[in-house]
């Protein structure tokens, strides 16, 4: 009896193995055709409620219309470590396309230098860039500088006097300004805060002379005339701020945006990436998503996997250089 059971178990095990093998040896074409076969998970490396999270949720609310086989995409928040924890989880996930992640400038191009992360832009598979926001240098309405030129003249004449607040130490806003200082030789005083809102509050309360924050965060106060944007430190002009010059237009070669995009674990099959890319591209063009983004003040900003990889690489290299120059890393 015992022996029979053992034999049966062995047969069953063999059958399972065979089934497993046949499954995995199926051609990749077939696999892509059937992808996805269940719901997909997007890891958002921040707490619920931020721009990255809300943008992800806006996209996933329509994604089932564009994904083959009507499956859904669920947002899972894994915050912590300034985005590194969630991004690491995506990096370590099974490369089957069922666990992908949103990532942004910080965890992808800054943290790898400072925190010794397991991943780097070269080791993840970019899917698509969905959002990009430039930063602006703003001053209070009663500040003496009307234009970027007047301000530049002041800071050149008064090195180390001008205080500006940012979203945080070692983030895009800070690094951009360090890059600006490195190129122009202008010395500024950086006062980091915990997020865009406190940085803005510090400016409004007169505790700093300027602030470098995302356009989204600055818009309401710019519209009401409480603050004035002097210069855009990003790569493009966002709506409502067409009159504000870019740094690149003022002969300073600094242009970094705060971008958000989707990545997959390394070695995810190309056709799976293609299915995901195509679906999310269509979702990004969906009117409902465009409307939601507009209300949030976020600009859809598409980049293909190759372009996205290039953007990541460019920022990654630039940040390394600046972090070294600023003495944050060796």
């Amino acid at each position: 009896m015992k022996l029979v059971m053992k034999k049966l178990a062995a047969v069953g095990f063999a059958a399972m193995l065979a089934a497993g093998c046949s499954n995995s040896s199926a051609s990749t074409d077939e696999k892509a055709a059937s992808f996805p076969e269940r719901d997909i998970e997007i890891i958002v490396p921040y707490a619920p409620g931020g721009t990255t999270d809300t943008a992800s949720r806006a996209l996933t609310s329509v994604i089932s219309e564009y994904l083959p086989n009507d499956y859904n995409v669920n947002v899972v928040n894994k915050e912590g470590g300034a985005g590194v924890i969630g991004t690491t989880e995506v990096f370590n996930a099974k490369p089957d396309g069922y666990k992908i992640g949103m990532t942004t400038v910080g965890p992808m191009t800054i943290k790898p230098h400072t925190d010794n992360t397991a991943y780097s832009p070269e080791t993840v598979e970019p899917i698509i860039q969905v959002v990009a926001t430039p930063n602006v240098l703003v001053v209070k309405k009663d500040a003496p500088w009307q234009t970027y030129e007047e301000w530049l003249e002041y800071v050149k004449a008064n090195p180390g006097k001008f205080t500006y607040s940012t979203t945080g130490a070692g983030l895009t806003q800070h690094i951009t300004m360090e890059a600006f200082s490195a190129q122009t030789g202008v010395k500024l005083k950086h006062v980091p805060y915990e997020g865009g809102a406190p940085a803005l509050a510090a400016l409004l309360g007169g505790h700093v002379q300027g602030a470098v924050i995302q356009t989204v965060e600055a818009m309401p106060q710019i519209e009401s005339g409480e603050i004035r944007a002097l210069v855009n430190t990003g790569s493009f002009k966002s709506s409502g701020l067409e009159d504000v010059p870019l740094l690149t237009e003022k002969d300073v070669d600094v242009a970094s945006d705060v971008w958000t995009g989707l990545i997959a674990p390394p070695d995810t099959p190309e056709d799976v990436i293609k299915v995901l890319h195509d679906s999310f591209k269509k979702a990004l063009e969906d009117q409902k998503v465009i409307d939601t983004f507009a209300k949030l003040g976020v600009e859809p900003s598409y980049a293909s996997p190759d372009e996205f990889a290039e953007i990541m690489k460019k920022d990654y290299d630039l940040n390394e250089e600046i972090l070294k120059a600023a003495g944050i890393i060796e």
């Binding site: 707490a47 619920p48 409620g49 931020g50 721009t51 999270d53 809300t54 949720r57 806006a58 609310s61 899972v76 928040n77 894994k78 915050e79 912590g80 470590g81 300034a82 590194v84 924890i85 690491t88 400072t114 925190d115 010794n116 992360t117 205080t163 945080g168 130490a169 070692g170 800070h174 005083k189 950086h190 006062v191 980091p192 805060y193 915990e194 997020g195 809102a197 406190p198 803005l200 509050a201 510090a202 409004l204 309360g205 007169g206 505790h207 700093v208 818009m219 309401p220 106060q221 519209e223 009401s224 409480e226 409902k288 939601t292 209300k295 949030l296 003040g297 944050i328």
Partner: protein, 502 residues
């Protein structure tokens, strides 16, 4: 105006506000779910709703969420939210004395009164107050937080020295993680899980709830089981409630005031309010604080709901969210096409009024839900310990995990559970530890910001009026008990064993 009223009193709006408040209470009562999460998860659902009902629901969650944490804090010593941490101080001792019903009733009424008073302040003088909130720069934040530290004496119970030691440990724990100014990791030992610091809520859950479970197990194992406590359904008369009118009023004002200053946080309001309540109490009553008296519960629960109206002031008038919850609400408002800020009151007056009315309705719903729930939830006390404790432990660990879906946080809860158990075993008070963890980052980052801005000149702390006032009170609070003691000794009197509020 009529149109606004019609919109607010539409069935859909009322139902959604009710649902919002209810969800808020449930989300904040269960450890590991927070009102912030509730709001964030419901925002996609509000995409398709009209403006007033959508925003009303979010405000409902906010109001309910401030209150719900008190239920678990009082009954099972598990603060579901940081804002309920101070409620433990007297809430749980009251429950341990068999007065859970009374404590819950006072928490409910306090929350309601705090909510309504802060709401009235919001309606009457929002724009004027918003400008005041902005006066708080780094120097002022630093001074306020140092003043907050002077509370250590109040919440240390008998042994102030041990309280100070524990507060120091708390301040140290707060330095773990990313340096807020330099952007470098400290004390993380290379772990990415620690780069954003020790997760606060899991630590809180561990310190109070897990440690309590360990203690109960020990008591059971060693046979030192205390007598069985039976839940009494106690009603409190209106007369009794009114006798605490000073407490309600003081806590409401403190809560609103702290709410107005962006970036301070609800837990500070509750601790400050508790401290002031004790400071103003009669000397013989002072000794009772921490042993389970209504004043302690009222002071904390009234002040945390009073923060709601206060925090909405900078949010609506300046577009600046003071904390995570209001930041999420801001996202919800933007989605609805409402841009809070200086122009909101001009361009969208009717909407603002509808929000005000909704806030009052939400507070009334919260009172009703609370008073109704008290009748049932209090029964938790009657559940046998061998059934209740496993449930509490499960809740603690699931809760710690679900906050950011990170197993590391479960270890944090467990580690802090052991720390909490050991500290209490050797008579070290736990609340100063929490205070240190809360105030540490504020003190450090603002001290350094002030120094950057003033180029190293420390005199700004005393030349800026608000900062000077807070620091002076803090210094007096630290020194007064010493001098008082010295004076007594000089006059040859015995030093009275009194636990003086710092």
């Amino acid at each position: 105006m009529e149109q606004v009223l019609a919109q607010v009193f539409e069935m859909q709006t009322l139902v959604l506000v009710f649902a919002g408040v209810f969800l808020g209470v449930v989300f904040s009562a269960i450890p590991g779910l927070t009102a912030t999460m509730g709001i964030a998860l419901l925002i996609p659902y509000t995409f398709s709703l009209p403006q007033v009902p959508a925003i009303s629901m979010l405000l409902g969650i906010y109001i309910g969420g401030m209150y719900g944490g008190s239920i678990t804090a009082i009954l099972i010593r598990t603060p579901g939210t940081p804002s309920a941490a101070a409620t433990l101080l007297d809430g749980y001792p009251m429950a341990a004395k068999g007065q859970a019903g009374k404590a819950l009733n006072y928490a409910t009424i306090g929350s309601f009164v705090g909510g309504i008073i802060s709401c009235i302040i919001l309606i009457l003088i929002a724009p004027q107050l918003a400008a005041f909130g902005l006066k708080f720069g780094p120097a002022e934040f630093f001074a306020l937080a140092v003043f907050g530290l002077s509370i250590v004496g109040t919440i240390s119970g008998k042994n102030v020295v041990k309280g100070l030691i524990v507060a120091g440990v708390g301040l140290f724990i707060a330095t773990i993680g990313m340096d807020p100014i330099g952007g470098v990791a400290r004390f993380t030992f290379g772990s990415i899980n620690l780069t954003s610091g020790v997760s606060f809520i899991p630590a809180l859950i561990g310190l109070f709830a897990v440690s309590q479970v360990i203690k109960e197990i020990e008591e059971k194992a060693t046979g030192h089981n205390k007598k069985k406590i039976k839940y009494k359904r106690e009603r409190i008369s209106l007369k009794e409630t009114f006798s605490y009118w000073k407490e309600f009023l003081r806590a409401s004002v403190i809560g609103t005031f702290i709410g107005i200053i962006p970036g301070t946080g609800t837990s500070i309001a509750t601790f400050l309010s508790y401290n002031e309540s004790k400071r103003f109490a009669k000397p013989e009553r002072r000794k009772e604080y921490g042993k389970g008296i209504p004043e302690g519960v009222i002071a904390t629960e009234t002040s945390n709901n009073a923060v709601t109206g206060g925090a909405l002031i900078p949010l609506l008038t300046l577009g600046i969210p003071g904390d995570v919850v209001t930041a999420v609400i801001l996202g919800g408002l933007l989605i609805q096409g409402v841009t809070p800020g200086p122009l909101l009151f001009q361009n969208n007056g009717p909407l603002v009024y509808s929000l005000f009315i909704t806030l009052i309705i939400a507070n009334i719903f919260m009172l009703l839900i609370g008073l109704f729930a008290v009748r049932f939830v209090g029964k938790i006390v009657d559940v046998p310990k061998n059934v209740l404790l496993p449930i509490v432990v499960t809740l603690c660990f699931i809760g710690s995990y679900s906050l950011s879906n990170n197993l590391f946080d479960v270890w944090v809860a467990l580690a802090f559970g052991v720390i909490g158990y050991l500290l209490e075993k050797f008579n070290y008070p736990l609340p100063p530890l929490i205070l240190g963890i809360i105030l540490g980052p504020i003190i450090e980052s603002n001290l350094r910001r002030t120094i950057i801005e003033s180029s190293g000149d420390l005199s700004v702390f005393f030349t800026r009026p608000i900062s000077a006032v807070f620091l002076t009170i803090a210094i007096v609070s630290f020194l007064y008990p010493l001098f008082k003691d010295l004076w007594r000794k000089l006059k040859g009197k015995e030093s009275i064993e009194e636990d003086i509020p710092a």
